[in-house]
């Protein structure tokens, strides 16, 4: 199965939030009371009931003017996904499209994915004691449709298609934009399945890691300590058996002691 990619071109985004709304509609995530944080960004962050969000940001252009920037923030669907590595129950898993699916029924609310994710995507829902995140509308893409956010986008900032095709489009667009424009997503964590075309340097954008990677602590835990502990456990089981049959148990009896007969039992 060919991998699918959601391509997001920031230069075409008008911050209309149709994607945000379409996501809520398709995934049945009614809004809750929010608070005004002095910008159009609402709610203030990703939430268990808000799986994608337009981040609004004002940046000085250096000439006394202001650039108003929008970023569609949602799960990046990493190929080497830290959340899938740590998930103990298999609630988070890779799909045949390369995206990261989430099965809420399997989630045990351990929050390990929240700590592991380099993009701060999974959110904890205390009411359900489960996490929630974008699953790239698996129910839709598995039926040949595009994700709800892509379907709703009126400007073409969001596109969906085969990975190769989307990457080609992304690089073409970045070249067109010129300057600091770049493609973000294909060069780390094994390649993400949401790809950005960034008109500015990645460091300009709020809450966007420049070099996201699976944290070393997670690699130490899952790749080193897990196999090592199995090895140690197996080693000591086998070692004890060999000790018993080769070296033999310790002789703690004594002939001058009546009660020692009991000792061997």
């Amino acid at each position: 199965m060919t991998e699918k990619v959601k391509l997001y071109d920031l230069s075409k985004c008008t911050g209309c939030r149709a994607c945000q709304l379409a996501c809520k509609q398709w995934n049945q995530l009614p809004a809750k009371q929010t608070h005004n944080m002095g910008t159009y960004q609402n709610p203030s962050d990703l939430q268990p009931n808000t799986w994608n969000l337009i981040r609004f940001q004002e940046v000085s252009d250096g000439n006394g003017g202001v650039k108003w920037m929008f970023r569609h923030d949602a799960c990046m669907h990493c190929t080497d996904a830290a959340c899938v590595r740590v998930c103990p129950s298999g609630a988070l898993s890779h799909t045949k499209y390369g995206t990261v699916a989430f099965d809420q029924a399997k989630c045990i609310g351990c929050k390990e994915c929240i700590s592991a994710c380099p993009f701060e995507v999974p959110r904890y829902d205390p009411e359900k004691d489960k996490i929630a995140k974008c699953d790239m509308c698996f129910s839709r893409i598995d039926n040949g449709l595009e994700p709800a956010c892509v379907k709703a986008c009126p400007t073409g900032a969001l596109r969906f298609g085969d990975k190769d095709e989307m990457l080609k489009l992304a690089y073409k667009r970045a070249k067109e934009l010129g300057g600091d424009a770049s493609v973000y997503g294909d060069k780390f964590v094994g390649g993400t399945h949401m790809i950005y075309v960034l008109p500015e340097k990645a460091s300009v954008y709020d809450r966007l890691p420049e070099n996201p990677r699976v944290p070393l602590s997670i690699i130490a835990w899952k790749d080193w300590l897990k196999p090592l502990s199995l090895l140690a456990a197996g080693g000591v089981l086998a070692g004890s058996l060999f000790h018993y049959i080769i070296h033999g148990p310790k002789d703690t009896g004594g002939d001058d002691d009546q009660a020692s007969q009991e000792g061997g039992k």
Partner: protein, 222 residues
């Protein structure tokens, strides 16, 4: 396992209770933890109705483990937490005679270096397990960079504690016959004491503190 006349008391009721609280909570924690750590062991959750229940069992057993470990440290640190040099060094050099044939292994007190190492590993890594475990239970109020390392520490704790636990189980049962009654009735044979803790036995006899089953307690002397 009824003690016989002439057997020697090596542990009191409180020690035995602490031992079993720690042992049972530790075993439940290891099994439930294993069920969550490896997908291949997820089946361990079936008898309790799923991983979520296994998580709850793990977390609340942790709450029993905490006081058990603290009492264990209080009860045994003096006898098992301090090396007795230079004799213990001699013991280390020949591994106490446990791994290869040693004609006369150095005499030990109440606990040998292996047992002391087990105590120190469980005490030290047990505390690490408690701290990292509590942080893993409530991770959202703490910096992510810190929380991430707690998972590694927790795994490291299992890596260290399990081998010690299993060797302890082996040597407490079939590896050193006659040991197990120490944690059930509290009484072991005199010959066992002569092999396992001769220095302690002599000291207890000299100070008149030795309690022998079926004999008047000799404590009235002091």
């Amino acid at each position: 396992m009824i003690p016989k006349k002439g057997m020697i008391k090596v542990s009191d009721a409180f020690e035995r209770i602490v031992h079993w609280c720690l042992a049972i909570s530790c075993i439940v924690l290891m099994i439930s933890g294993l069920g969550m750590m490896f997908h291949a062991f997820n089946f361990l959750a079936i008898p309790v109705g799923g991983l979520k229940n296994l998580k709850l069992i793990h977390n609340f057993t942790g709450l029993i483990f905490i006081p058990s470990l603290l009492f264990a440290i209080l009860v045994w640190w003096k006898e098992a937490g301090v090396l007795d040099l230079p004799d213990d060094f001699e013991w280390i050099k020949c591994a106490g005679g446990y791994l290869w044939h040693v004609e006369n292994p150095p005499e030990t007190g109440k606990y040998n270096v292996g047992q002391k190492a087990f105590f120190l590993a469980v005490a030290g890594f047990g505390i690490i397990m408690i701290i990292s475990g509590l942080i893993m239970w409530f991770p959202l109020s703490l910096p992510t960079g810190l929380v991430r390392w707690m998972y590694s520490l927790h795994a490291l704790g299992f890596f260290v504690i399990f081998p010690f636990f299993f060797v302890h189980l082996y040597l407490g049962t079939i590896g050193v016959p006659g040991s197990a009654p120490a944690v059930f009735t509290g009484y072991v044979t005199r010959s066992w004491c002569n092999k396992q803790c001769p220095k302690w036995l002599r000291k207890m006899e000299e100070t008149g503190k030795l309690e022998v089953y079926g004999e008047e307690k000799a404590v009235s002397e002091h």
